[in-house]
Symmetry: C2
Subunit: 332 residues, 2 copies
DNA sequence: ACGCGTTTTGCAACCGGTTGCAAAAGCGGA
DNA sequence: TCCGCTTTTGCAACCGGTTGCAAAACGCGT
């Protein structure tokens, strides 16, 4: 049923090699045969089998895209940017939803079976060991939104979460809050730990301010709302730096439902600057994570590794910046 | 570098066929050789190359997952459900982001090159012809969230958009609104057209009520907000059935910014019941589209077509139902 | 028309598996 | 132990391409 190289060769009256060569860039074919082959190919509706050729070339142009964040709206933006970026370079994303599993073994095995050229782990909650498992298996890997480490074993592209924590602390202090809280995401996520460490470190430099902290059970609306309700019940701080935007939105809803005003009674500072944060009915002051750049850089890195698999691992960090909207009181 | 069938065969002291057979279910191998092979395989860390085998078996277990909706939060839920559902059955989603293109040709060609076993088109805005192009190319295809047609050329799984329009109209009339509007998504989307047709049809049965309509430029927050601002400026209806939830949320924000109350001054009815619609700070009354069932059914259908490629095309429609929340006045 | 260097071509082996077929091995009964 | 039947095994061809190599064709100068 499907038309193969052989069919085209016969029709064009040339050898199979000739056909193969007209379809591989930079191969030696005369203009005459190329014409004959192309004619035959279009007549038959031929298109080469990418998987068969991968057998000999060792390249599939498949890239595993692994994530466990299928409930945070910002990841729709992430998937959009990744798929477009990969497609632009002729690469194909093989999507892996890791929602339940924790061990990398299955994914490694599966992606090896499909001979992916490389893997992007897009997650801020997976531990570094996860990405490292791919490296051990000899698969080029980039961990996007991963934890910064001074001695990374795999390529990491993302932000400096500690610095983010510091920026957040400074933003709150600068606005005159002297009783502030860190409302983190799940405590075991590396991103939470690092943001908290940075936040605390900076707050230590401002001993006049009281600092507290607690953690939500997930990066989700409901978790943020529930935790903020608890905090309000026991007497809240003046402002909170929340784990991420969706958590912040949950927190916001709790604050407003309690009859308190934002930012007058309680200030909220998010992180990510996802599209929704800019919606007029949310209007969240937040720290912007440059996801476009992170993703572009991740793709560039994984592409670079195709030619240079043992490239020395590096950490690429992008600066974050405050986006001023309506949930923190203005600078005085 | 990678360990192959041959390596295992040599180590186990058997033929390559023997190794192949131990890894294919239902093949004839004695317990003794199976043991030998398995031992050798684990020692070498062998895992079979799925692409090489696809060459002879004709099955890749790859499923193309095509969408052009990378900006509507409900599609994150859709991708989550699709990837999980496919993975559970040992299938691998090859994700295609169709954001810019309109013609199916490139996607068809590309997915043919990768020998996908089947394709799911997950989009409420792509025309039926798009999915049909895959069928013509001999690739099993299911159009999820596609347009219902009484004589479908490809399998369609989704809802009866006309019936949705009727349900919406009835919901508004039953609540005593007598000046109602249809605030649709993009006019060229088949889903918009059908919902409008159903809505209008039902409203014709209630001539006491005034009916109007207009269209937003996209299924998006900003489009919904902008259109609602325009409507308010020129004097709004009492209630609107909006194209979908995200459009509704945009409309809501415009209503509230204009100092009007919901549902007292203007009622809003959405469609989809995405997770966010249930957030307490949104609390949107909406028509629930059973996406779990739609996706499960889509997967079942595409799986069924693997064994029966010429299966007679059918339309599978799931009923929608009203989810009562806070943006329409209660039944009187 | 001839010779030489360059380009183009086809052959055949190979990528990593699968599978029909015939031969070999295993098994139970006499 | 031998026979006949069933199960297991290996051979070899094949899936749809790619590629090194040697032979053929070409271009060009004389």
């Amino acid at each position: 049923m499907p038309v193969t190289l052989k069919d085209v060769a016969e029709r064009a009256g040339v050898s199979r090699s000739a056909v193969s060569r007209t379809f591989t860039a930079g191969a030696s074919v005369s203009a005459k045969t190329r014409r004959k082959v192309e004619k035959a190919a279009t007549e038959l509706g031929y298109s080469p089998n990418a998987l068969a050729s991968s057998l000999t070339t060792g390249r599939t142009k498949l890239i595993g895209l692994i994530s466990n964040n299928f409930h945070n709206p910002i990841f729709l933006e992430v998937f959009d940017l990744f798929t477009r970026g990969l497609q632009e370079r002729g690469l194909r994303p093989l999507l892996v939803n890791l929602s339940d599993e924790v061990a990398p073994d299955n994914s490694v095995q599966m992606l090896r079976q499909y001979s992916v050229d490389g893997v992007v782990v897009a997650s801020s909650t997976l531990p570094p060991e996860f990405a490292e498992a791919f490296r051990s298996a000899g698969i080029p890997v980039v961990h996007s939104f991963g934890r910064y480490s001074s001695s990374p074993k795999v390529h990491v592209v993302g932000i400096d979460n500690m610095e983010c924590g510091r920026i957040a602390a400074r933003a709150l202090v600068d606005r005159g809050y002297d009783d502030v809280g860190f409302l983190g995401g799940p405590e075991r996520a590396t991103s939470t730990q690092d943001r908290f460490a940075g936040f605390r470190e900076e707050m230590l430099r401002h001993p006049q301010a009281r600092t507290r902290h607690s953690f939500a059970t997930a990066y989700s609306f409901q978790a943020g709302r529930a935790e903020m309700q608890r905090l309000i019940a026991e007497g809240p701080a003046q402002a909170y730096f929340c784990g991420d935007d969706v958590l912040s939105i949950g927190a916001l809803s709790a604050v407003r439902d309690a009859g308190l005003r934002v930012p007058e009674d309680i200030g909220i500072l998010g992180l990510n600057d996802m599209e929704m944060a800019g919606w007029e009915n949310i209007n969240l002051t937040t720290i912007r994570q440059p996801i476009r750049q992170i993703i572009r850089s991740s793709i560039e890195l994984v592409v670079a590794m195709l030619d240079e698999p043992d490239r020395y691992p590096e950490a690429r960090l992008f600066p974050c910046s405050l986006v001023e909207r309506g949930t923190l009181r203005p600078l005085s």
